[in-house]
C-alpha cells in the first residue's frame, strides 16, 4: 500500500546533461557560483532596484514551478500518508487564512496596535506546533524513527517567539529562502549524487558572501525610503524592527537570499530534472494514474499560469499594492514547502 502511495523515484532520475558526469557537475557549479556572486553584487550595489526587478520577473514564475512541483509530488493514493497529508492541507489552509486576516483585522480597527505582537506570537506558535506535528507524523511513517524530539525544540522556539514575536517573524522571512537550498540538497542526493560534494563546497561560499555583504554595508547610510515602494521594501526587510542596522544592508541581504531562492526553483531544480518539462503532465502521478484527475490538474496549472499573468499586470499597473498583496498571499507557498520537504527526508 505504502509502496503504491509513495513516489516513483524513476521520474527523478533524468538523463544526464552531458556524456561525462564531471562536465555536468562543472556546469552546475559554474552556474551556482555565477548566480550567487552576481546576486550578491547586484543586491549590494542597487538593492531597491534589484528587489523591484527580481520580484517582478521571478515571483510569479517561481510560484508556478513550486505548484507544479507540489502537484507532481502528490501521490495518487495517500495510503498510510493519509493523516500526514490531512494535517498538512488543514494546516496550510488554516494558517494561510489566519495570516491573511491578520492585516484585515488590524486595518479594520478590531484591535489596537498594542495587541499586534501578541497576535503574531499566537500565529507563529500555531505554525511551530503544526510543523512539529508533521515531523512527528513523518517519523511514525518511517520505521524505527522516534522524531518526538521535535516537540521540545518547538516549545523552545515558541518560548523565544513569545519573547520577541516580530523578530521571530523576521527570522522566518530570512530563513525561508534557505529552505530551497535544502530541497536542492535532497534532490541532488537522489538524482545526481555525484554533484553533491561540489554543491556542498558551493554552500560554503554562502556564509562568506553574507559576511562580505555585511562587512561592506554595515556602515552605509540608510536607504532613502521617502516613497511608498521603497518604504515597503525596507519594512519587509525589517528596517523598522532593527532600526540600528542600516536598511541598505538589510535589503541587500534579503534580496540576495530571495534571488538564491528563485534561482533554485527556476534554474537548479529543472536543470537536474526534478520538475520535468512544464508541459509534460504525464510526469504528474495524479494526472497519469487511471483513477487520477488529469483534467483537474491541467485546469489548476492553467489557472495558475493565468494568475502569473495577472500578477505581472498588477505589478505593471500598481507595483506597491500588488507587492503587498503578493507577499501576504505567498505565505501559502512558504507553508506548503514544509510537508513536501519532510517527505524528502
Amino acid at each position: 500500500m505504502e509502496r503504491a502511495a509513495d513516489f516513483e523515484l524513476k521520474i527523478w532520475r533524468a538523463p544526464r546533461v552531458g556524456d561525462k558526469p564531471r562536465a555536468g557537475a562543472r556546469l552546475f557549479v559554474t552556474m551556482v557560483l555565477a548566480c550567487a556572486c552576481l546576486s550578491a553584487l547586484m543586491a549590494s550595489w542597487l538593492p531597491l532596484q534589484f528587489s523591484v526587478i527580481t520580484v517582478f520577473l521571478f515571483a510569479g514564475p517561481h510560484n508556478w514551478f513550486e505548484l507544479r512541483y507540489f502537484v507532481m509530488r502528490l501521490p495518487a493514493r495517500f495510503g498510510r500518508s493519509r493523516n500526514f497529508f490531512a494535517v498538512s492541507f488543514a494546516g496550510i489552509a488554516v494558517l494561510t487564512v489566519t495570516y491573511i486576516s491578520l492585516p484585515a483585522f488590524y486595518y479594520s480597527k478590531l484591535w489596537s496596535g498594542a495587541n499586534w505582537p501578541t497576535a503574531i506570537a499566537v500565529w507563529n506558535t500555531l505554525l511551530l506546533l503544526w510543523v512539529a506535528t508533521l515531523v512527528w507524523l513523518r517519523g511514525r511513517q518511517r520505521h524505527a524513527r522516534d522524531w518526538s524530539w521535535a516537540f521540545p525544540i518547538t516549545f523552545g522556539l515558541s518560548s523565544l517567539n513569545w519573547l520577541a514575536p516580530e523578530l521571530f517573524s523576521l527570522a522566518i522571512v530570512y530563513a525561508h529562502p534557505l529552505v530551497a537550498l535544502w530541497f536542492l540538497d535532497r534532490h541532488l542526493r537522489r538524482a545526481r549524487p555525484d554533484w553533491l560534494p561540489a554543491y556542498h563546497r558551493c554552500l560554503c561560499l554562502l556564509p562568506l558572501l553574507l559576511v562580505a555583504i555585511i562587512w561592506q554595508l554595515a556602515r552605509t547610510p540608510a536607504l532613502t525610503d521617502d516613497n511608498g515602494l521603497a518604504w515597503r521594501i525596507t519594512q519587509h526587510a525589517g528596517a523598522q524592527i532593527l532600526p540600528n542596522i542600516s536598511s541598505h544592508l538589510l535589503v541587500s541581504v534579503h534580496v540576495f537570499l530571495e534571488m538564491l531562492h528563485y534561482a533554485v526553483w527556476l534554474i537548479a531544480l529543472p536543470l537536474i530534472g526534478v520538475t520535468a518539462a512544464p508541459w509534460n503532465f504525464k510526469s504528474i502521478p495524479l494526472a497519469r494514474r487511471p483513477r487520477g484527475f488529469p483534467r483537474l490538474i491541467i485546469a489548476v496549472m492553467a489557472l495558475a499560469l493565468f494568475l502569473v499573468g495577472m500578477l505581472w499586470m498588477g505589478f505593471s499597473t500598481n507595483y506597491a499594492t500588488t507587492r503587498d498583496i503578493y507577499f501576504t498571499v505567498a505565505i501559502a507557498h512558504v507553508l506548503a514547502e514544509a510537508p513536501f520537504l519532510l517527505r524528502m527526508i
Binding site: P117, T118, A121, T125, D146, S148, W149, F151, P152, I153, T154, F155, G156, S158, S159, L160, N161, W162, L163, A164, P165, Q240, I241, L242, P243, N244
Partner: protein, 199 residues
C-alpha cells in the same frame, strides 16, 4: 462703628504682617519632590569627564546615539534590549515561561525514553539544564549583576579628583521643560562598605 473700623484695620495689619513674615510659624521641612520620569527612548552609555582647561560644558553624542534619539523622536521603536521587551508585556513573559517549561519537560521525557546510555543521558541532562539556566539568566538578566547605577557610586570622588566616570544611562524624553538634565543615583559614601542608593 469707629471701634469696628479700628478692629478691622488692626486685624488686617496683623494678617498682612504675618503673611509677609511667614508669622512665627516654623516652615515645614522641605521634602524633595520626586523627579518626574519621561518616556524611555533608549539605553546607552555615558561618560562624565571633568576637564580642567574647558571653557564651557559640552555634550558630545555619538552618531549611533543620535540615530536612536531620532528614531525615538519619530516614534520609531528603538532597538530596546531583550529584557526591556520582556518586561513590557507580562502576558508574553508568562507564555514564554510556559513554553520554556514545556520544552524542558518534553526534553526530559524524550531523553528518559530514548535508548541512549546512562552517561549520555546524564551529559544531555546537564547540557539542557545549563542551557536553560544560561538562557534564563541572559534573557532576564537574572539578579547576578550590580544595579545599573552602581558604576556611578564614585562620581563625587572622581569629580573631585578630576577623573572620568563611565556608566550606563537611560535617555528619557520629557513632555515639557527646557535644557538637558542629568540625574545620577546618589550613593552615600562609607569608608568601610559601599551601600546601595537609599540604604
Amino acid at each position: 462703628m469707629k471701634s469696628t473700623l479700628i478692629f478691622c484695620a488692626a486685624g488686617f495689619t496683623i494678617l498682612a504682617g504675618a503673611v509677609l513674615a511667614f508669622g512665627d510659624i516654623a516652615r515645614p521641612k522641605e521634602t524633595p519632590s520626586p523627579v518626574a520620569r519621561g518616556k524611555s527612548a533608549f539605553h546607552t552609555s555615558l561618560a562624565v569627564v571633568p576637564e580642567a582647561g574647558a571653557w564651557e560644558a559640552r555634550l558630545q553624542i555619538s552618531p549611533e546615539s543620535l540615530r536612536q534619539l531620532r528614531a525615538a523622536l519619530d516614534n520609531v521603536p528603538a532597538d530596546s534590549s531583550m529584557a526591556q521587551n520582556i518586561t513590557n508585556s507580562s502576558t508574553r513573559t508568562i507564555m514564554a515561561g510556559l513554553f520554556m517549561f514545556l520544552a524542558v519537560s518534553f526534553a526530559g521525557v524524550w531523553l528518559a525514553r530514548s535508548g541512549h546510555s546512562r552517561n549520555q543521558k546524564a551529559a544531555a541532562a546537564v547540557v539542557i539544564a545549563a542551557a536553560l539556566m544560561g538562557a534564563t539568566a541572559i534573557i532576564t538578566r537574572g539578579n547576578a549583576g550590580p544595579p545599573p547605577g552602581w558604576s556611578w557610586r564614585n562620581l563625587q570622588q572622581n569629580l573631585n579628583g578630576g577623573t572620568e566616570t563611565r556608566g550606563s544611562v537611560n535617555v528619557e524624553i520629557m513632555p515639557e521643560g527646557s535644557g538637558i538634565k542629568l540625574i545620577v543615583p546618589l550613593y552615600k559614601q562609607n569608608p568601610n562598605t559601599d551601600r546601595k542608593p537609599g540604604e
